[in-house]
Amino acid sequence: MLSLGLSEELTAIQGTVREFAAKHLRPKLRAIEKNGLGADTRARFAELGLFGVDWPEAAGGQALGLITRAVIEEELAYGDVGAALALDRGGAAAQLLLALGTPDAHAALKRLLDGEGHAALAAAEEGKARDDFRTVAAKQGSGWVLNGKKAYVLGGATAALRLVLAQVDVGQGLAGAGVFLVEGANPGLRAGKTHTTLGLQAVPVHELVIEGLMLPLAARLDDQVSLPQVLRRHYDRLSLVTAARAVGLAAASYEYARAYAEERVAFGKPIGHFQAIAFLLSDMAIAVDAARLMTWKAAWAFDQRQPATADLAGAQAQALEAAFFCANSAVQVLGGAGFVQDHPVEKWMRDAKTLALYGQHAQASHAVLAAAALGRPLDSADLFPLPSLHASLS
């Protein structure tokens, strides 16, 4: 029956993560933005044993569902969204492996879980103007050889596990592309330039240069499955994680601005006692709650194995809108103090904009929603939205 309170178990997890984020993420957010996560923070997070909670048992996970993941990601992002992104060792690559769902994919996830490194997804290409990837994979003897260049790969330079999307059948677009697994270092693959980004700087974004990358036959993971369908499932899961982080970011911005408005005095009273500010804060509070409810509903639908694509896309769009609205408003509420780096809100505003471009971006989620409403099939643009702008891990 319609019920909107968290279970005791989830409330406990929420409390644990909130405490962790308050202690280890929020106070260090500038350092994390500048230098990435410290080994110490990573180790402390690992102690919580929360990585992979939403993965199926076959992949070494705890099968606690996306709803659990949503609660965790929101709390981490409430601490700091950049740190939340950096703490996710699986990233978009893990989501793609989960979407593949094959024994090989699950085995790769297990190795990731048991190790300490992170995964990266190399999908996007700069200036990709046609349906085919320019990175190509050709069969050669008893293996594959890949050549090309990938752009916007989050954590690409140092990843322990990389998934590379490459064209196998030329002229076939996505249907003729394949997913290739590269574990550990490989002489055929090296980092190119590092992109400087607007926000979410805790995770560096690299170009990957692929020259004569030799892989065994089994490195191709999508043999038995339809890649367009897999990618759709991938975006479904990714949307939820993005949505939950966006909710956390929105909530952090709202709460920071709210507290500031109680303290900062102008014209003889706290600025929160002026309607223009108080009403703005009220709208921020509403935006946060609406986005959270949408996110929970989508996660719940997914966990119930209902068709959840539209719900997930809607949640993501709603949450990203809330995130930018709240972060932008928070800067406004803080005034000049919002613009300088003594307060985190200018960072969150940059992060909010960036978050909306990683993964399935806002316009694409609207297209997915509309497709569901209009009863039209998804076309390849919905499956793999604007690849040239598409960053590969979020």
Binding site: L4, A278, F279, S282, I286, D289, M294, K297, A373, L374
Partner: protein, 403 residues
Amino acid sequence: MIDFTLSEMQETVRQMVHWLAENEIRPIALEADRTHQIPDAFLRKMKELGISSGAISKRAGGDGDGAGESADKKGVKQTNRVAVIGAEEMAWGDPAVILTLPGPGLGGPPVEFMGTAEQKAKYLGIFKDDELRWGAYGLTEPVAGSDVAGIKTTARRDGNHYVLNGRKCFITNGARASWVVVFATVDASKGRAGHRAFVVQKGTPGFSVGKIEEKMGLRASETAELVLEDCRVHQDDLLGGEKHYEGKEGFMGAMKTFDSTRPMVAAMAVGIARAAYEKAVEFTKEHFDLGRPIARYHAVEDLLARSQRRIEASRLLVWRAAYMADAGMPNAKEASMSKAYAARTAVDVLSDLVQVMGAAGVMNDHFVEKWFRDIKVYDIFEGTGEVQRIVISKRILRDLKSF
């Protein structure tokens, strides 16, 4: 537990009310809007089916009159959830017609929350027979709308009676109501502490109907001015009795009713917005420009999608407020959040959807033109959008007493 599945009762009510909305309410809506009249035969049928204003009565799967209780077999209260789910479907049928369904209407909740057992039996009991009857809620005055505390209608004690003087305006079903809950002050210097709620019966000497308003929308719904001139009301009709007003209770009673009525009004806004969205989807799929359905243009798609998700978000805020009310949690903030967001969303959505339908959007026979006119008041009555934000502000900001 997070669970978005409707219970059996909720689902039954949803389906049944939707059926009614589609087959009984929607078909009379345009004509009712034009003539400002609702056929008696329709109202009788609704009454027989147990569909009343603002509440789902026992026969319709709820449990009782007015804001009665409904609980499942395990005794879990779900009155508010059932009510908002029903309200969304009803409003989907038509937002104006449903305000005229027989029953206690907005007058029901204050009687429920503040009335003594005798008063509840007396005033809500009258709805049990087969007659068409209405109740009404008279708070607003020409000089006091949002500023509820500023009402000027006076109540002077005279023996066993109170003598009421003043004017009420914009009262839904005010002219046809068998009784109206009238708010008045016994001592204007005391502000809210001086407020009293009386049940004034139709036909009481000194109680008359002034003008009936002509409106932008909701034209099938009666909006009346009420005049009280030396109107004598027996002390037994003081809602809750003297005792009720000894503490801060009195005014809080009036305000508490909002915690359940605001999500209802918000649910109605969701229903109207959804109805318009469905019309727009249908329309844009079937109308072509340059050889393709206009729904396939990105700008149109984007707008439809944005409308869809905001409507969904509104619904979830409504459900949350209702869930909290059923669970006995304080929900004033959440009730206002649902009303503030759902009403603004519905106004925005209607404006956007009229746009995507082009000329058809402003023609009377496509419904959206009417709903566009109807929806605006959802951001005005039951507390304006600004008033909702005042309620929220006071609950999120420390030491904020007033602006």
